[in-house]
C-alpha cells in the first residue's frame, strides 16, 4: 500500500466515523446543559441545549424536532460545564415558576437538576449571569 492510499484510507476512516450534529444528538450520552424560557398564554417554550463538545441545539414547543444552531469551541463548552459545578448550581434549590418562566437545566447519566424562576430580580445574581452568558452565545450563533 503506498502513501497516497494510506492517506485516502485515513480520510475515509476519519470521515466515516464523523457524525452529523443531528446524529450526534440522537446518540449523545454525555452531560447536557440547557437554558430556556416560556409559558404565558400560549404555553410556548424555547430551549437551547449545550453539549460538552460545544454543539448548541434549539427546541421549540410549537415546532417539531430539534434544530442544530451551531457550535462553540469544545474547551469553552467544557469550561461552562465546569463553572456550573464550581458555582454550585447543583446545590441551588430554585423552583419558582410563574406565568412566564426562565430555566437552567443540567442532566447526565446520574442526575437531573433544574432551576426555574419567573422574576429575574429575585434570584441570585450568579444564576442570572450564567443564564445571560449562555443566552448571548446562543444569540451569537443563531442571530437570535
Amino acid at each position: 500500500m503506498n502513501y497516497k492510499s494510506i492517506v485516502v484510507l485515513l480520510f475515509v476512516l476519519i470521515f466515516s466515523s464523523c457524525k452529523s450534529p443531528m446524529e450526534l444528538y440522537q446518540n449523545y450520552k454525555g452531560p447536557q446543559l440547557s437554558i430556556g424560557s416560556g409559558g404565558g398564554i400560549s404555553g410556548e417554550y424555547n430551549e437551547y441545549i449545550l453539549f460538552e463538545n460545544g454543539n448548541f441545539y434549539h427546541k421549540n414547543s410549537f415546532e417539531k424536532g430539534i434544530k442544530f444552531i451551531g457550535s462553540i469551541p469544545a474547551n469553552e463548552a467544557k469550561q461552562i460545564f465546569k463553572n456550573y459545578f464550581t458555582l454550585k448550581f447543583d446545590d441551588i434549590e430554585l423552583n419558582s415558576p410563574g406565568d412566564f418562566s426562565y430555566f437552567i437545566k443540567f442532566g447526565d447519566k446520574v442526575k437531573n437538576h433544574k432551576l426555574i424562576w419567573a422574576n429575574s430580580s429575585k434570584i441570585e445574581p450568579k444564576v442570572k449571569v450564567f443564564y445571560d452568558i449562555l443566552r448571548s452565545k446562543v444569540k451569537k450563533l443563531s442571530g437570535k
Binding site: G38, G39, I41, E44, Y45, F100, A118, G143, K144
Partner: protein, 1056 residues
C-alpha cells in the same frame, strides 16, 4: 352494653381490619339453604320506556304466595280542598314565590280578641292565630318583636314589629299590625321572611353557623378599619368629633349591630354586621359587612347631596379619547393630560388615590399602559427602556388603545360582577406593558402576567397580531393577577393547571360570545382550528401530544414534567368542566360560583379533586343543591371524582376506589331466622352455621369495612355484630335494649346510627357516636313541588346513609288526604340531611325527593346506593302490582330497568358494582343475581340466575378498608418503612420511633373528613419523638410525617 362502649369497640377495631383468610370455614350447604345455579324464569327487557309508566310485561304471579308487605297501595282519585276551609281572606296576592322578604297584606276579620286589652297581647294574639300563621307561613309568632306601639286619633292602634331569628334581627323583615278600638278589625302588612323559608335558607349559609349560634368573627377595631379603608377610597376621612369644634356632633358616631341579611339576588340569609358611621356632618353611611370575613356587601349613603360624590372627582386633566383599537372599533378610553401632553393613564375609577399619586410617573389606583419599546424583561436595560404611552394631540395607535381598553374592561368586569377593587382587591394599579420583545429582540409570540403587570408581545409566527388585540387574552392575564392575590395557586402540576384554567375561564367570560381563547390573534398555520384553546372542545381539532391539543378528561391527562408538569395542557380538563357546568346552569351563575371558589375555598396547592369540592361548596353556598349537583355532574364527566381523580372517564367507575377486601354476602333465611355469611359465589361459610340465631326484623346494615353489622331483631332491639377479620371471631350484642325499634342502619364510616321507632311515625332517630347524642328528624314532604301535592309522610321503612354520612336515603309511605275519605297512599324515595360535617353536628333535616312526581298507582322503595358511585342507586318499582328493579343515575336523571321481578327485590350491589343481588320469589324466597352493564343501572340480557335458595335480604360487602373521603389519603411516592407511631389507640401523646428521618420533620394530623387538626414542626433529637395530642377528641385520624422529601402516612385511633 352502652352505646359508648360499642363506639369504643368500633373505633378500636376499625383501623385494624385486614384481609382474613383463616377462622371462617368455607362450607357449601347448611340447613334449608341450598346453592342452585339454575336460571330464573323471568323476562328481561332492555331499555324499557318508562315514560308511559307501563313499561314491562307482567310476570306471572302466585297471589296466594305473594307477601303482603309494606307496599299496601290503595288507589283512588284525587279531590279538591273545600273553599269553606279558607277562613282568612288574602286581599293582595302574594308576590312571586321566591321573592323575599315576602310582601303580605292580610285582613283577618274573624279573630275575636275583645277580651284582651293589652296591645302587646293583642298583637301576639293576632299573629298567633292559626289562620294568620298559615297565611303568613310563620312557625312562631314570638319571632316578631315589638318596636313600637302607637294609637292614632281614629282609634286605630299600629304596632310595628321586627322579625327575628334566634335572637338576630332580620334586615328588612318588618310588619305592622293595625287594629281598631272596638277590636273587630285587624290588618297586617309589611315585608317579612316566611318561617319555613327562613329556616331552609338560613341553613344554606351553614358555614356561618356553629351549632346553635352564628359566627361573628370580626372585632370592633377590625370592622372600623374595613370601613375606614373603604371611605378613604372615596376620599372621605372619618372626623374625630372628640376634638371637633363643630356645632354638630352626632350622638353616636359608630353603631354596630349583628343581624341576618339577604344578599341581593340570593335566596339565603346570612349573619352580617350592620354598621352606621357618621364620618362627618355631611357623610353618613350604612354598611353591611359579611360577619365572617368582613366583605362589604353593601354601602349606602344615608344622606342626600346635590353632587354625587360616590366617585371621587377625576383629577384635573382627565379626558376621554376616542380612538380605534386593533379590531378597528372606535373606543372611548380615559387618558390624562398634563402640561398639554397626554398620557395613557386612566384615573377615572373609584380606586384612584389622588393623595398618593404623583402624576404622571407615580400614579396610584389607575389603569396604566406603558411601552417596553421592544425590550424584554430579562434584559438588564428593561426598566430603563419603559416609557409612557403618550401623545401630543390625544391621538393614539391602535395597539395601545386595545391594551388600554381591554385592561379597563377587565377591571370593570371584576368590579361590576364581584365588586372586586382592581386586580389585587385593594385598588392597585392595573398595568399593561406593550411592545415586549422576545429575548433576542424579535417579536414575542406571547403575553404573560409578570407578577405586577401584563406583558404583551406583538406576535411572530404562532400569532399574527399583537396579543393585546384579544380581549380574552387580556382577561386571561389580568386574572392571573387576581389568582395571585387570592388562592395564589402554585404554578405547577394540577394546581398550576387550575391556575391556567381560571385564567381561561374568566378570559372567556369577559369575551363571552364564544368558548375559544385567542381566536382573534392566532395563526391558522399553527392553530388550524382558529383558536389557541377551546373550553368547549379541549382537543381543539388537534392530535394528542400536539401543542394545540388539551385533554378533555383525566384519562388523557399529561403526566410528564414539561411545562411545569403540563399546566397549559392539563388545564383543558377543568376548562371542560367549567364549560359543562356553565352550559348547565348559565354563564352568570357559573362565573359567580367560580369566583367564590377562587376567593374563599381554593388554596395554593389545591388539586383537581379540591377544585371539585370548592366548586360544589361554592355552588351550594350561592344557589343550593341543584346547582351543586350540576357542578358535580360536570366534574364527574371529566373524570374528576369526589374520591380522587380517575382515569376511566366514564364518570361512574372509580369515583370511590373499589373496596380491596374479599367479597361476602349476609342474608337471612326465608323465615327471617338468623343471619348467614356467604362468599361472593353464594357458598355458605362458617361451617354452614348462622353467624347469628337472632330472628331479625330488618335487613342488616354494615359499615364499609365489613366489620360492624347493625340490625333490629324481632325483639325490637338494636343488635350489633362485630366480625374480627383478623382472628375470625364473631360476636353479637344488643346496643340499644329498649324494645322500641323496627329498623336501624349504620353510616358507612361507622360515625352515626339511624333508627326507626316500632311505633310507626314519620320520624327518623339519628345517633352520633362522636357527640353521643340522639336527634329525631321529622320527615316532611315539600308543600308543593312543581305544583304537585305530595301529602304527608306516614312512616319510613328502608334507609341507607350516603358516602358522606351526612344524608340518609329512605323510602316512606305517603298519604294524600281528602275530605271524602278516599285517601291516596303511595311509597316514594327521599333524602334527608341529618349531619353537617363542617360543623360536626346535626344538620337541619332538609329533605329532597328522588322524583318530584310519581305517576298514579306507582310506588318506589327499598333504595340502595351502588358500592362505588355515590350517584348511582337501585330500587324497587311497583306499578299495578307488577314489580321491577330499576337503576337510576341521580346526576344525569337516567332511569333504566334492571330486572322484571315477581315481588319486592331489595336489591344490593356487588363490591365492584358489576352485579346486583335481589330477592326473587318463586314458591319461596331466593336470592338471585344479575350482571350489570357498565352504566350500573341496566342489566345484561339473560344474565339473571339463582344464587341462593331459601334466603332473602342479601347485603353484599367486602372486608377491606378504603377511603370514603377526598384527598387526604394520597399515596406518596417516597413512603418510608422504618417509622412506627404508638401506642394505637392513644390518648394524649403520640410517640414516634423512626430510622427514616434524621432532622426536622413536620407532623400533621387529619380527621377522617380531611380536616387538619394538628400540625407541628419538630426536630428529631434522637430516634424518638413525642407529640401532645391532648386536644384531639376521640376518633379515627390520619397522621403524616415528612421531612419534605420522604413521607410516612398511617392511621391512628384516639380514645379519651
Amino acid at each position: 352494653m352502652k352505646i359508648k362502649h360499642i363506639f369504643l369497640t368500633i373505633i378500636l377495631i376499625f383501623p385494624f381490619v385486614i384481609f382474613a383468610q383463616n377462622g371462617i370455614d368455607q362450607k357449601n350447604n347448611i340447613g334449608a339453604l341450598k346453592n342452585n345455579n339454575g336460571n330464573v324464569n323471568a323476562e328481561n327487557i332492555d331499555n324499557p320506556d318508562l315514560q308511559g309508566i307501563n313499561p314491562l310485561n307482567p310476570n306471572k304471579q302466585n297471589d296466594e304466595n305473594k307477601k303482603s308487605g309494606v307496599f299496601n297501595i290503595v288507589s283512588f282519585s284525587k279531590s279538591q280542598i273545600s273553599s269553606s276551609d279558607i277562613t282568612s281572606k288574602i286581599i293582595a296576592i302574594k308576590s312571586e314565590k321566591r321573592e323575599n322578604p315576602l310582601a303580605i297584606y292580610i285582613s283577618n276579620n274573624i279573630k275575636d280578641f275583645s277580651n284582651i286589652h293589652n296591645p302587646k297581647k293583642i298583637a301576639y294574639s293576632i299573629l298567633g292565630d292559626p289562620t294568620v300563621k298559615e297565611s303568613m307561613k310563620i312557625d312562631n309568632e314570638n319571632n316578631f318583636h315589638i318596636e313600637n306601639i302607637k294609637t292614632d286619633n281614629l282609634g286605630i292602634t299600629h304596632i310595628k314589629m321586627n322579625q327575628f331569628y334566634k335572637g338576630l334581627m332580620i334586615f328588612g323583615g318588618q310588619i305592622y299590625i293595625h287594629y281598631k278600638k272596638n277590636k273587630t278589625y285587624s290588618v297586617i302588612n309589611g315585608r317579612w321572611f316566611q318561617g319555613k323559608y327562613t329556616e331552609e335558607n338560613i341553613n344554606q349559609g351553614i358555614k356561618y353557623r356553629n351549632k346553635n349560634h352564628f359566627v361573628f368573627n370580626l372585632s370592633e377595631t377590625h370592622i372600623k378599619n374595613i370601613i375606614k379603608t373603604d371611605l378613604e377610597s372615596l376620599r372621605i376621612k372619618i372626623k374625630d368629633f372628640s376634638i371637633s369644634r363643630d356645632q354638630f356632633i352626632p350622638e353616636k358616631q359608630w353603631t354596630i349591630q349583628k343581624m341576618l341579611f339577604q344578599p341581593k339576588g340570593e335566596q339565603y340569609l346570612k349573619p352580617v354586621y350592620i354598621v352606621e358611621i357618621v364620618a362627618d356632618p355631611l357623610h353618613r353611611f350604612k354598611y353591611i359587612l359579611d360577619s365572617n370575613r368582613g366583605e362589604i356587601l353593601r354601602r349606602q349613603k344615608e344622606y342626600c347631596s346635590l353632587i354625587d360624590d360616590s366617585h371621587p372627582p377625576t383629577p384635573q386633566g382627565a379626558v376621554v379619547a376616542h380612538a380605534k383599537d386593533l379590531n378597528g372599533v372606535t373606543r372611548d378610553i380615559n387618558v390624562l393630560t398634563i402640561n398639554n401632553h397626554y398620557y395613557m393613564i386612566d384615573a377615572s375609577r373609584a380606586m384612584f388615590n389622588s393623595t398618593k399619586s404623583n402624576l404622571p410617573d407615580e400614579p396610584y389606583g389607575v389603569i396604566w399602559t406603558i411601552d417596553a419599546n421592544n425590550t424584554n424583561p430579562n434584559n438588564d436595560n428593561f426598566s430603563n427602556s419603559l416609557t409612557h404611552v403618550h401623545s401630543g394631540n390625544n391621538t393614539w395607535n391602535a395597539l395601545s388603545v386595545s391594551a388600554h381598553f381591554n385592561a379597563g374592561f377587565a377591571y370593570d368586569y371584576y368590579k361590576t360582577k364581584f365588586n372586586r377593587n382592581s386586580i389585587n382587591g385593594n385598588g392597585g394599579n392595573v398595568v399593561s406593558i406593550i411592545n415586549v420583545s422576545d429575548e433576542d429582540g424579535s417579536g414575542m409570540d406571547n403575553a404573560f402576567w409578570g407578577g405586577s403587570a401584563m406583558y404583551y408581545g406583538n406576535g411572530n409566527k404562532a400569532f399574527t397580531s399583537p396579543l393585546a388585540k384579544a380581549l380574552d387574552v387580556s382577561g386571561h392575564e389580568l386574572t392571573h393577577g387576581v389568582i395571585q392575590s387570592t388562592a395564589n395557586l402554585e404554578y405547577y402540576g394540577e394546581s398550576g393547571a387550575i391556575n391556567e384554567s381560571f385564567a381561561d375561564v374568566f378570559g372567556a367570560m369577559m369575551d363571552r360570545d364564544n368558548w375559544q381563547m385567542g381566536e382573534d390573534v392566532v395563526s391558522l398555520q399553527y392553530f388550524p382550528s382558529g383558536a389557541l384553546r377551546d373550553l368547549s372542545n379541549p382537543h381543539n381539532g388537534a392530535t394528542q401530544g400536539s401543542y394545540a391539543w388539551q385533554p378533555a378528561n383525566t384519562s388523557e391527562k399529561y403526566t410528564g414534567t414539561e411545562d411545569n408538569a403540563g399546566v397549559h395542557t392539563n388545564s383543558g380538563i377543568p376548562n371542560f368542566a367549567f364549560y359543562k357546568f356553565a352550559t348547565a346552569v348559565g354563564k352568570e351563575k357559573a362565573e359567580n360560583v367560580y369566583y367564590r371558589a377562587l376567593t374563599f375555598y381554593l388554596t395554593k396547592s389545591s388539586k383537581f379533586v379540591d377544585l371539585r369540592v370548592a366548586i360544589e361548596q361554592a355552588a351550594d353556598d350561592l344557589y343550593g343543591t341543584n346547582v351543586k349537583n350540576a357542578a358535580s355532574a360536570a366534574f364527574t364527566a371529566v373524570g374528576i371524582g369526589s374520591g380522587g381523580s380517575t382515569g376511566s372517564g366514564s364518570g361512574n367507575q372509580g369515583e370511590l376506589s373499589i373496596n380491596p377486601g374479599q367479597d361476602f354476602i349476609i342474608c337471612t333465611d326465608d323465615n327471617q331466622n338468623g343471619l348467614y355469611l356467604l362468599n361472593g359465589n353464594g357458598q355458605v361459610l362458617n361451617n354452614g352455621s348462622p353467624i347469628s340465631n337472632t330472628p331479625i326484623q330488618s335487613k342488616v346494615s354494615i359499615t364499609d369495612d365489613g366489620s360492624n353489622i347493625i340490625f333490629v331483631g324481632q325483639d325490637n332491639k338494636i343488635h350489633y355484630i362485630y366480625i374480627n377479620w383478623q382472628t375470625g371471631d364473631i360476636s353479637e350484642t344488643i346496643i340499644q335494649d329498649q324494645a322500641i325499634w323496627r329498623n336501624a342502619v349504620v353510616a358507612k364510616d361507622g360515625s352515626h346510627l339511624a333508627a326507626l321507632y316500632s311505633e310507626v311515625d314519620n320520624k327518623i332517630a339519628v345517633y352520633d357516636f362522636g357527640v353521643q347524642e340522639w336527634k329525631d328528624f321529622e320527615l316532611k314532604n315539600p308543600t308543593t313541588v312543581q305544583g304537585v301535592e305530595l301529602g304527608n309522610v306516614e312512616f319510613a321503612d328502608a334507609m341507607e346513609f350516603d358516602y358522606s354520612s351526612e344524608w340518609i336515603m329512605y323510602d316512606c309511605k305517603n298519604k294524600i288526604g281528602s275530605n271524602n275519605g278516599l285517601d291516596i297512599e303511595y311509597w316514594d324515595i327521599g333524602f334527608i340531611n341529618v349531619w353537617n360535617n363542617d360543623n360536626n353536628y346535626f344538620a337541619d333535616g332538609r329533605t329532597e325527593k328522588l322524583f318530584s312526581e310519581l305517576p298514579e298507582d306507582v310506588s318506589i322503595g327499598n333504595p340502595v346506593f351502588s358500592k362505588n358511585s355515590p350517584n348511582i342507586i337501585a330500587f324497587d318499582y311497583i306499578s299495578n302490582e307488577t314489580y321491577n328493579i330499576l337503576g337510576a343515575n341521580i346526576n344525569t336523571g337516567e332511569v333504566k330497568l334492571i330486572f322484571n321481578n315477581a315481588d319486592l327485590g331489595y336489591p344490593n350491589y356487588s363490591k365492584d358494582d358489576k352485579k346486583i343481588i335481589y330477592d326473587y320469589y318463586d314458591n319461596g324466597y331466593n336470592i338471585a343475581i344479575i350482571d350489570l352493564n357498565q352504566d350500573k343501572i341496566s342489566s345484561v340480557v339473560n344474565s339473571a340466575k339463582y344464587l341462593v335458595n331459601g334466603a332473602r335480604w342479601g347485603v353484599w360487602f367486602a372486608n377491606g378498608i378504603r377511603d370514603l373521603t377526598t384527598g387526604v389519603y394520597d399515596i406518596y411516592p417516597n413512603a418510608v418503612t422504618q417509622t412506627i407511631v404508638y401506642p394505637n389507640p392513644m390518648s394524649n401523646t403520640l410517640n414516634i420511633t423512626t430510622k427514616d428521618f434524621n432532622s426536622e420533620v413536620e407532623i400533621t394530623i387529619f380527621d377522617i373528613l380531611g380536616n387538619k387538626k394538628l400540625q407541628k414542626t419538630l426536630t428529631l433529637s434522637d430516634l424518638n419523638l413525642s407529640v401532645d395530642i391532648s386536644n384531639l377528641k376521640t376518633g379515627n385520624y390520619l397522621v403524616k410525617i415528612t421531612d419534605g422529601i420522604k413521607y410516612y402516612s398511617g392511621k391512628i385511633v384516639v380514645f379519651k
